[in-house]
C-alpha cells in the first residue's frame, strides 16, 4: 500500500497548483498568484471565522506561493493558530509553515513557544515530535531559553518513546550549536552517554551525533563514551550482515551508525586502556579485511555503504597515527582505490591520502603511489578529482621527488582549469623554493611559471624570486643571464618584464662582459617592452634605468635622452612624470660617488615568513592545507637543508625559514635611502620608493629634503574610549582591537611625568615597520612637552614591546596629546590613534590642611571666576568608599572633618607646572535623598581655566 494516498488532501490547493502550471507566461503566473493572494487575504480578514480545514488550505497555498519564489508577508498568525488545533494535519501544516517561513527573531515567537510548550507536555509522541522538529529547525535563542532545560529530561526519561528520544537528541544538539550557553550540563550528560547502549539503533545514531558535538566542546566530560562506542562498534562490525535487520543497508550492517561512532572516536586520542585499544584495533582490522572480501551485492549502494565505513575507519587510523601496520594497510587500501573505476572512490582516496602523507609512518608508502597520482592529474576528466591530485602531490612532495613533482605540476599548468591555476602557481612556487638545492633550478622554475601562467602569478611570487636572488650571491649572475634570455622572446608576460627589469637593474653588470648582452643591448631590450607595459611596470623600469646609469656610465647619455623625451617628462601619469624628472635631475647633478651611494645594490632581505605560504593558507582556509613542516620532515628529511650551507651567505641559507615579509620586497635597513630599484605599490608609490615607510626615523639623508614630503599620516579616528577611565588611575589598558593591545603604566612627580606604553601583538604574525609618534595641537605644544623614546620597528607575534614617554607640564592645559601608531600587518598599513590620558590633575600634589585653613583659603578664592560649580546626575551607585578612592586617585588630599556635613567630601591640592603652581580646593556634595541621585561639585582655584578643566574631568567620574 502506498503510504501517501494521492487522492486525499486539499482540492483547492491542487486546482491552484495546476492553474499555475498551466500559465503560459510569467506574467500570467504572477497575475494568478496575486489573485490568489488577494483572495486569501480577504478570507483571513473576513468577518466569518474560518474553520480549521480552510485555514490549513490557505496556509498551505501561501507556503506553495512562497516556494515558487514570492515573498509572503501575512498569514503567520493563522499558521500559529493552526498549532493549537487538535487535528494532526492542521498542526502539521502550521509547524511546516513556521519552520519554513518564520524568522527566528519574529515577534510571534512567544505565541509559537506557547504552542510548543503545550505539545511537548501533551505526551502524544506525534505532537511531541512536531514540536521538537520545530525547535530544531528554527533554533532561535528565545526557543533555547524556553526549552533548553526541558529537553534533556525528555531525552533521558525512561518512558519516552524511541522516536521522541531521537528527535530530542538532535533538538538538543541544535540548541547546543546555536546557544551553547543556555544548554545546562548536568547529571543528564552521564545518562546520555549510556544511550550508546540503547536497543534502538536510531536512538543510538542520534545520541552519537549529539555526543560527538558535546565531546568536541568538553572532551573530558564525555570520556566514558569511548569504551561504549568501541563496544558498540565491535558488535556491529562482527555481526552477521542480517543481525541488525532493518538497519542493514544493502548487506552492510548499520553503516551510518558505524560512521558516526568512528567520528566520535576521532574526538579522542587512542584509548589508553590496553584491552580497549586492542579491541578497537581489532574492529579496524575487521573493517579493512572486509574491504578485501568479494562484494555481497553488485549494487552500487552496497559498495557505497561499505566504503563509507571504510573511509571513516581510515580517517580514525590517520587521526590516531600510532599503529604503523594499520597505517600502511590503510595506505595500501587507498592505493587500490586510486585506480578504482568509480570516480567517487578515486576522489575520496586522494583526499584521505593527503592527510596520510603527513604521518611519518606512512609518508614513504604514500610516495610509492606518485606515478598513479601524476597519471590522475593528466587523465582524470573531473576537475574535482584533479584538484585533489594536485593537493596530494603537494603533500607528498619532499626532497627526493621535488623535481619530478614540480615538473609535472608545471606541465599540467599549461592545460589546467582556470579555477585552480592560481593555487597551483602558489604551490609550485612554494615547493620550488622549499626543496631547491640548486637555486638555478629555482630561478628556472619561477620563470617557467611566469611564462606558462603569467596572469596567475601574484605579486607575492615574483617578489619572492627577487628576494631570493638578492639574498643569494651565487645565483645572481645566472638569474641575470636567464632573465635576459627570457626577455628576448617576442611576447613575454608583464610579470617577466618586472622581474627582468629589477634583476637587470641590480645585476646587469654581471653579464655585461659578454658583447651579446652589453649594457646598451640590455637597455634596448628592456626599453623595447616599455611601451607595452602598465604604469606600475613602467615606473619600475624607470628605476631600473637610473640604476643602469650608475652601473654603466657608458649608456648614461642614451638613458638621459629617453628620460628627457616628452613622453616621459610630460607623461600624463604623475608618478611616471615625477620619476622621470627626478631621475633625470639626479643623473645630471649628482657626482659619481653620490650616485653610487644612492643607487647601491639592494641589501639582503631579512628572514620572514613566506607570504606565499600565507596566501595559500588563506586560500585554502586553515586546516585544509597539510602542514608540510611537521615532524615527519625531521625524520626523513634531516639532511633537508644541510647542503645549502655549503655556500656561505650573509643571510641564512635555509630558505624555508627565509620567509617573506608583507607584500613587497623592501629591506628593513634603509640607510642608503634610494637603493631600491623601485617596486611600485599603488598605495604610497613614492614614499615606498624612498623607503620612508619602513623606518621613518632612519631618514637622515640629504636626499630626503630633495624628494620627500613626509608621509602624511592618514587621518584616523582618534580613540578616546578609555580616556576618561584614566582620570583617577594611572595604569591599565587604554586601547585594544583584534591586533594590538596598548597598556599604560604612568607615574607623576610635581610637574614631571613618565608613561610606559606597552604594545602587545595579539596575532601570531610579526608587525613590521612599527612606529609611533605623539602629536599635540599647536597650543598644547607650548603647554606640555612630550618626549617619546624610539620603539623597536618589529614586534613578533605574541610579543610585547615597551616605549617610554617623558612628559613635562609647562603650564595648565586642557587638550590631550594623541599617540599615533603605524605598522604593517599582513601587507596592509594599520593606523591607530589613541588619546593619551595626560590630564591636568595628574600634576596634583595633595595638601593636608586643617578645617580652619581650608575655610580661610576657600574665602580667599571667592572671586566669581575662580569658582566653578556643576550639578550632575550620578552615573554610578553612590558608595562612600569608591568616591573616596576616586577623589584620592584624582590627586588631592581628602580632608576629613572639615565639612560640617559628614556625607560631603572635601579635598585640597596643588597643581604643579613649570611656570606656576595653582592651589585647588574642592567640595563634593552627594544628594542621596532625591529621587534621582545627584551631586554638586564645587571647585575653587586661583586660575579660572584650571577650575573649569578640573571640574570637567572630575564630574565625569561619579
Amino acid at each position: 500500500m502506498p503510504a501517501v494516498s494521492k487522492g486525499d488532501g486539499m482540492r483547492g490547493l491542487a486546482v491552484f497548483i495546476s492553474d499555475i502550471r498551466n500559465c503560459k507566461s510569467k506574467e500570467a503566473e504572477i497575475k494568478r498568484i496575486n489573485k490568489e493572494l488577494a483572495n486569501i487575504r480577504s478570507k483571513f480578514k473576513g468577518d466569518k471565522a474560518l474553520d480549521g480545514y480552510s485555514k490549513k488550505k490557505y496556509v498551505c497555498k501561501l507556503l506553495f506561493i512562497f516556494l515558487l519564489g514570492h515573498d509572503i508577508d501575512f498569514g503567520h498568525m493563522e499558521a500559529v493558530n493552526l498549532l493549537s488545533s487538535n487535528k494532526y494535519t492542521e498542526k502539521q501544516i502550521g509547524y511546516l509553515f513556521i519552520s519554513v517561513l518564520v524568522n527566528s527573531n519574529s515577534d510571534l515567537i512567544r505565541l509559537i513557544n506557547n504552542a510548543i510548550k503545550n505539545d511537548l507536555g501533551s505526551r502524544n509522541p506525534t505532537f511531541m515530535n512536531l514540536a521538537l522538529h520545530c525547535i530544531a529547525n528554527v533554533g532561535s535563542r528565545e526557543m533555547a531559553e524556553a526549552f533548553a532545560s526541558e529537553i534533556p529530561s525528555i531525552l533521558v526519561a525512561g518512558d519516552t518513546m524511541d522516536s521522541v528520544k531521537q528527535s530530542a537528541a538532535l533538538c538538543l544538539l541544535r540548541l547546543n550549536r546555536t546557544s551553547a550557553d543556555l544548554v545546562p550540563m548536568g547529571e543528564w550528560t552521564a545518562r546520555v552517554v549510556h544511550l550508546l547502549n540503547d536497543q534502538h539503533l536510531g536512538v543510538v545514531t542520534a545520541a552519537t551525533s549529539l555526543i560527538t558535538t558535546l565531546a568536541q566542546k568538553s572532551p573530558d566530560d564525555f570520556k566514558t563514551s569511548i569504551s561504549l562506542a568501541v563496544a558498540r562498534l565491535s558488535r556491529i562490525v562482527t555481526s552477521a550482515s542480517i543481525d541488525l535487520q532493518d538497519y542493514t543497508y544493502y548487506f552492510v550492517a548499520a553503516p551510518w551508525l558505524s560512521v558516526k561512532l568512528l567520528r566520535l572516536l576521532q574526538c579522542y586520542p587512542p584509548p589508553e586502556d590496553a584491552a580497549l585499544r586492542s579491541r578497537l584495533t581489532e574492529c579496524l582490522e575487521t573493517i579493512l579485511n572486509k574491504a578485501q572480501e568479494p562484494p555481497k551485492s553488485k549494487k552500487v549502494q552496497h559498495s557505497n555503504a561499505k566504503n563509507a565505513v571504510l573511509f571513516e575507519a581510515i580517517s580514525l587510523i590517520i587521526h590516531h597515527d600510532s599503529e604503523p601496520t594499520l597505517l600502511v594497510r590503510a595506505c595500501n587500501q587507498l592505493g587500490q582505490f586510486l585506480q578504482h573505476r568509480e570516480t567517487n572512490l578515486r576522489y575520496l582516496a586522494l583526499e584521505s591520502m593527503c592527510t596520510l602523507a603527513s604521518s611519518e609512518f606512512s609518508h614513504e608508502t604514500v610516495k610509492t603511489h606518485i606515478e598513479t597520482v601524476i597519471n590522475a592529474l593528466k587523465t582524470e576528466r573531473d576537475v574535482s578529482v584533479r584538484q585533489r591530485a594536485v593537493d596530494l602531490l603537494y603533500a607528498m612532495c619532499d626532497r627526493s621527488n621535488a623535481k619530478q613533482i614540480v615538473a609535472e605540476m608545471l606541465s599540467y599548468l599549461e592545460t589546467a582549469d582556470y579555477s585552480i591555476r592560481e593555487e597551483i602557481v602558489l604551490k609550485v612556487a612554494i615547493l620550488a623554493e622549499k626543496y631547491a638545492v640548486d637555486y638555478t633550478w629555482y630561478v628556472d622554475t619561477i620563470l617557467n611559471l611566469i611564462r606558462i601562467a603569467g596572469d596567475y602569478v601574484s605579486e607575492e611570487v615574483w617578489y619572492r624570486v627577487i628576494q631570493i636572488v638578492i639574498n643569494r650571491e651565487d645565483v645572481q649572475g645566472y638569474a641575470a643571464k636567464t632573465v635576459f634570455e627570457a626577455l628576448q622572446a617576442p611576447a613575454c608576460h608583464e610579470n617577466l618584464v618586472k622581474v627582468g627589469g629589477y634583476i637587470l637593474g641590480e645585476f646587469g653588470n654581471l653579464i655585461a662582459g659578454d658583447s651579446r648582452s652589453s649594457p646598451l643591448v640590455q637597455f634596448n631590450l628592456l626599453h623595447s617592452k616599455f611601451h607595452l607595459c602598465s604604469v606600475p611596470t613602467r615606473a619600475l623600469l624607470l628605476s631600473a634605468y637610473i640604476k643602469f646609469i650608475n652601473l654603466f656610465p657608458e649608456v648614461k647619455a642614451t638613458i638621459q635622452d629617453v628620460l628627457r623625451s616628452d613622453s616621459q617628462l610630460r607623461n600624463s601619469d604623475v608618478e611616471l612624470q615625477q620619476r622621470a624628472v627626478e631621475y633625470l635631475r639626479l643623473s645630471c647633478i649628482a657626482s659619481t660617488d653620490i650616485l653610487a651611494t644612492v643607487l647601491e645594490e639592494m641589501p639582503p632581505f631579512p628572514e620572514r615568513e613566506s607570504s606565499i605560504l600565507a596566501k595559500l593558507k588563506k586560500k585554502k582556509g586553515p586546516g585544509n592545507l597539510p602542514d608540510i613542516d611537521d615532524a615527519r620532515r625531521n625524520v626523513n628529511g634531516s639532511t633537508e637543508h644541510s647542503e645549502n650551507t655549503e655556500a656561505p651567505k650573509k643571510s641564512s641559507p635555509s630558505l624555508v625559514a627565509d620567509l617573506l615579509p608583507t607584500n613587497r620586497p623592501r629591506p628593513a635597513s634603509s640607510s642608503p635611502i634610494m637603493r631600491s630599484a623601485g617596486t611600485m605599490g599603488t598605495t604610497h608609490p613614492f614614499t615606498d620608493l624612498l623607503n620612508l615607510n619602513a623606518t621613518p626615523s632612519a631618514g637622515a639623508s640629504l636626499l630626503v629634503d630633495v624628494f620627500s614630503e613626509s608621509p602624511a599620516p592618514a587621518s584616523v579616528d582618534v580613540c578616546e574610549e578609555n580616556f576618561l577611565r584614566f582620570v583617577c588611575k594611572n595604569n591599565g589598558v587604554i586601547f585594544e582591537n583584534q591586533l594590538l593591545q596598548i597598556g599604560l603604566k604612568s607615574e607623576y612627580r610635581q610637574n614631571l611625568g613618565r608613561i610606559y606604553v606597552f604594545y602587545g601583538n595579539k596575532t601570531s604574525t610579526q608587525f613590521l615597520s612599527f612606529s609611533t609618534s605623539v602629536a599635540s595641537c599647536d597650543m598644547l605644544k607650548t603647554q606640555l612637552n612630550v618626549h617619546a623614546k624610539t620603539v623597536d620597528p618589529l614586534i613578533d607575534g605574541g610579543a610585547q614591546v615597551q616605549q617610554m614617554l617623558n612628559i613635562e607640564c609647562v603650564s595648565d592645559f586642557t587638550d590631550a596629546p594623541v599617540l599615533n601608531i603605524q605598522f604593517r600587518y599582513g601587507g596592509t598599513l594599520q593606523n591607530i590613534a589613541v588619546k593619551l590620558p595626560v590630564m591636568l590633575n595628574k600634576f596634583f600634589q595633595p595638601t593636608e590642611m586643617t578645617s580652619q585653613d581650608f575655610f580661610q583659603r576657600w574665602k580667599q578664592l571667592g572671586a566669581p571666576e575662580q569658582e566653578v560649580q556643576k550639578i550632575f546626575k550620578a552615573k554610578h551607585p553612590m558608595d562612600t568608599d569608591v568616591t573616596k578612592a576616586k577623589i584620592l586617585g584624582f590627586g588631592v588630599a581628602l580632608l576629613d572633618g572639615v565639612d560640617p556635613n559628614p556625607a560631603n567630601f572635601v579635598g585640597a591640592g596643588v597643581i604643579h607646572s613649570k611656570c606656576t603652581q595653582v592651589g585647588c580646593l574642592l567640595r563634593l556634595e552627594p544628594n542621596t535623598q532625591a529621587q534621582v541621585k545627584m551631586y554638586r561639585l564645587t571647585l575653587r582655584t586661583s586660575k579660572d581655566t584650571v577650575s573649569q578643566r578640573l571640574c570637567d574631568l572630575l564630574s565625569e567620574q561619579f
Binding site: 502506498p2 487522492g7 563509507a308
Partner: protein
C-alpha cells in the same frame, strides 16, 4: 551537518528546499535563493557529466571550502545536499538513495509531479530523516511506518473533506506533456550515476 537540501529538475526549477539552519539567509529571502543560490548550484551541477564524481567543492556561495555539494541525478530530478566536513560523503550519497527509495514507496513510482502537488508530504518524509541538519533516521521501514501512521491520522481526520480526490488525479494525468512519468526506482531500471556497466 547538512546545511541545506535542494531538489530541482533538469531545467533548474526548484522542487524542494529546506529552510535549513545556517541557510536562513536563503530560506527567508527568496531573492537571494532565486537570484544566486539556485542558479549557481544548478549551473555547477547540471553541466557535469554522468561519469564524474558526485562531490563538488563549495565556492564562496555556499560558505567556503569547508562545504561540499553532494548530489545525485535521477531521471528529471537533481537531489543536492550541501554538507560540511563532518559528514561522510558516501554516507550522504546513501542517504539520498534512501530518501528517493522512501519517496518511491510512499508515492508508488514517484515522479516529479508528486513533488509538485505534495510539497507538504515530501517535507514530512524528509523531516522523518533529517532534523535540524542532522540525520535522524536511516531505516526505511521505520520512516515508512511513521509516514503511514501520519497518513492514517490524516484519513481519519479528513472524513468527508477528502472526498473530491479524483479531481487531483485527473489534473495530474492532464498535465503530462513531455515529462518522463516515473523516476523508476525499482530494481530493474534504477538510474545510478557512476556505474555505467550496471545491469
Amino acid at each position: 551537518m547538512i546545511k541545506a537540501i535542494l531538489i530541482f529538475n533538469n531545467h533548474g526549477k526548484p522542487r524542494l528546499r529546506t529552510n535549513n539552519t545556517l541557510f536562513t539567509l536563503f530560506s527567508l529571502s527568496n531573492n537571494l535563493f532565486f537570484s544566486h543560490f539556485l542558479p549557481e548550484t544548478f549551473h555547477l551541477v547540471s553541466k557535469r557529466d554522468e561519469n564524474v564524481c558526485n562531490f563538488l567543492e563549495g565556492g564562496m556561495l555556499i560558505g567556503g571550502s569547508d562545504y561540499k555539494l553532494i548530489y545525485r541525478h535521477y531521471a528529471t530530478l537533481y537531489f543536492v545536499f550541501c554538507v560540511d566536513s563532518s559528514e561522510s560523503e558516501l554516507g550522504i550519497l546513501d542517504l539520498i538513495q534512501v530518501f528517493v527509495e522512501t519517496l518511491d514507496k510512499c508515492f508508488e513510482n514517484v515522479c516529479e509531479l508528486d513533488l509538485i502537488f505534495h510539497v507538504d508530504k515530501v517535507h514530512n518524509i524528509l523531516a522523518e530523516m533529517v532534523m535540524g541538519g542532522m540525520v535522524l533516521e536511516t531505516n526505511m521501514n521505520e520512516i515508512i511506518t511513521q509516514v503511514d501512521a501520519q497518513n492514517k491520522m490524516e484519513k481519519s481526520e479528513a472524513g468527508i473533506a477528502g472526498a473530491p480526490a479524483r479531481a487531483v488525479s485527473a489534473v495530474k494525468n492532464m498535465n503530462l506533456p513531455e515529462m518522463p512519468r516515473n523516476i523508476n526506482i525499482g530494481d530493474i531500471s534504477i538510474k545510478v550515476p557512476n556505474l555505467p556497466s550496471f545491469k
